[in-house]
Subunit: 246 residues, 2 copies
């Protein structure tokens, strides 16, 4: 099993969960596998902490769950954000890894940064907007494609896979950029795009989503991210001056 | 995933299950992982087939479940009977294997005989009398010893482990960006940096090298690289116009 300090870096993020019992089931799986950090984004039922399926340690996890209004806030301190999907062959704009291989990558990253794993709502899974915050997606290989798992079972299987093998030796590198930093890069890029006429002001969200997805797909470490952010801010500053001179 | 013929030899046997929802959850996990043979021994609620948690294929599995009065009858056609236990250190009279290793043995045996995996009741697990029918026991390694899993989640994790070693389906991804494309991005970025005053014209090569290294470290696929190149060219175009207007 993972050392406590490494599992402390894992955040289980449940987005738009409808059934409070599933939040309780997720908390129970977390208690079984030693993962304590539960984050909930826009739950259907704000009284979810009373879910009867959670007892003992699981109830404590549910009690301590942090509630957020947006995925962006829920993953702000995470250097890797992984979305889960039941759909293997839709037009995905993210790299997709099957759980066994995904777990290896997640464990490596957990050696140096916080990792969020997102689970979407029972009916529709993660939305396209949710997915823009993800670096890549994981899929639990089921016998029947397009057949989604129960939410609590999907959480249990994912955490089982993450703890079933010993952690690989950590690799000393720069830590990956936090989601907050990537978000600031995205904002600066979008402003530069608007100022340069690439996009129209208050235009469609398609470009915004495209840019955010692209920035998240790129493997930024914190150093590169800071450098690019500085570059973009300078470009934005110059473009703003030109506009004001007009 | 296992071939259908091999998974046809697996029987999931739920003994003295109290909550019908857990039978539904077990059926759903079975439908996810392509295991169809559910056997139920002395369920607390004989109306379990109406468990609302089961839909589609899972409902069909529940509908087809065979009900037995004794473990002996439920495993009569099986050459290997494996009991599951949450308790790792009680006075076990059976060999105990952790799930990853247990799955290897089960898969080997499934090549030549029917295999039953027994799950006990939610509160007490399998009784000593139930265990007398088992060849050996399996335990899902959880972080907290003596902390039992939810029944439906335990079934899901066990079936996941049995089917996880399947060859992964190939996932189509975009090819990585060519060096030529990365070089064009670097050039466009450098021009934008000069036009915006981030660098001075004909300045040191340090910034140029820094930008080139950064662009190469980012894991661009060809699609993202083309998108970013288009964005940068628009920004450069706008910055050039501003300069010429002066």
């Amino acid at each position: 099993l993972q050392t406590p300090s490494e599992l402390d870096r894992l955040r289980v993020v449940l987005v738009a969960t409808r059934n409070p019992l599933n939040l309780g089931a997720a908390a129970r799986a977390m208690s079984n596998f030693g993962v304590g950090s539960l984050r909930v984004v826009n739950p259907f039922d704000l009284a979810f902490r009373e879910a009867r399926s959670a007892v003992g340690r699981a109830a404590a996890i549910l009690e301590a769950a942090e509630v957020y209004d947006s995925v962006a806030e829920a993953v702000a301190d995470c250097g890797l954000v992984v979305g889960t999907t039941a759909i293997q062959h839709r037009d995905l704009r993210h790299p997709l890894h099957l759980l066994p291989q995904a777990a290896t990558s997640i464990l490596q990253q957990m050696g140096r940064t916080n990792v969020a794993i997102l689970f979407g709502s029972e009916k529709t899974g993660l939305s396209n907007a949710d997915l823009t915050h993800c670096h890549w997606l994981l899929h639990i290989p089921t016998g029947e494609q397009h057949l989604s798992m129960n939410l609590g079972q999907a959480v249990a299987v994912t955490l089982y896979e993450l703890t079933r093998s010993a952690p690989p030796a950590s690799v000393a590198e720069h830590p990956t950029a936090s989601s907050d930093l990537l978000e600031r890069i995205t904002s600066a890029l979008l402003e530069a795009l608007e100022l340069s006429g690439y996009t129209i002001p208050n235009g469609s969200t398609a470009t915004e989503e495209k840019a955010r997805r692209m920035i998240h797909r790129l493997a930024f470490d914190d150093r590169d991210a800071e450098v690019l952010l500085g570059m973009l801010r300078q470009i934005v500053w110059k473009l703003r001056i030109h506009r004001e001179e007009k």
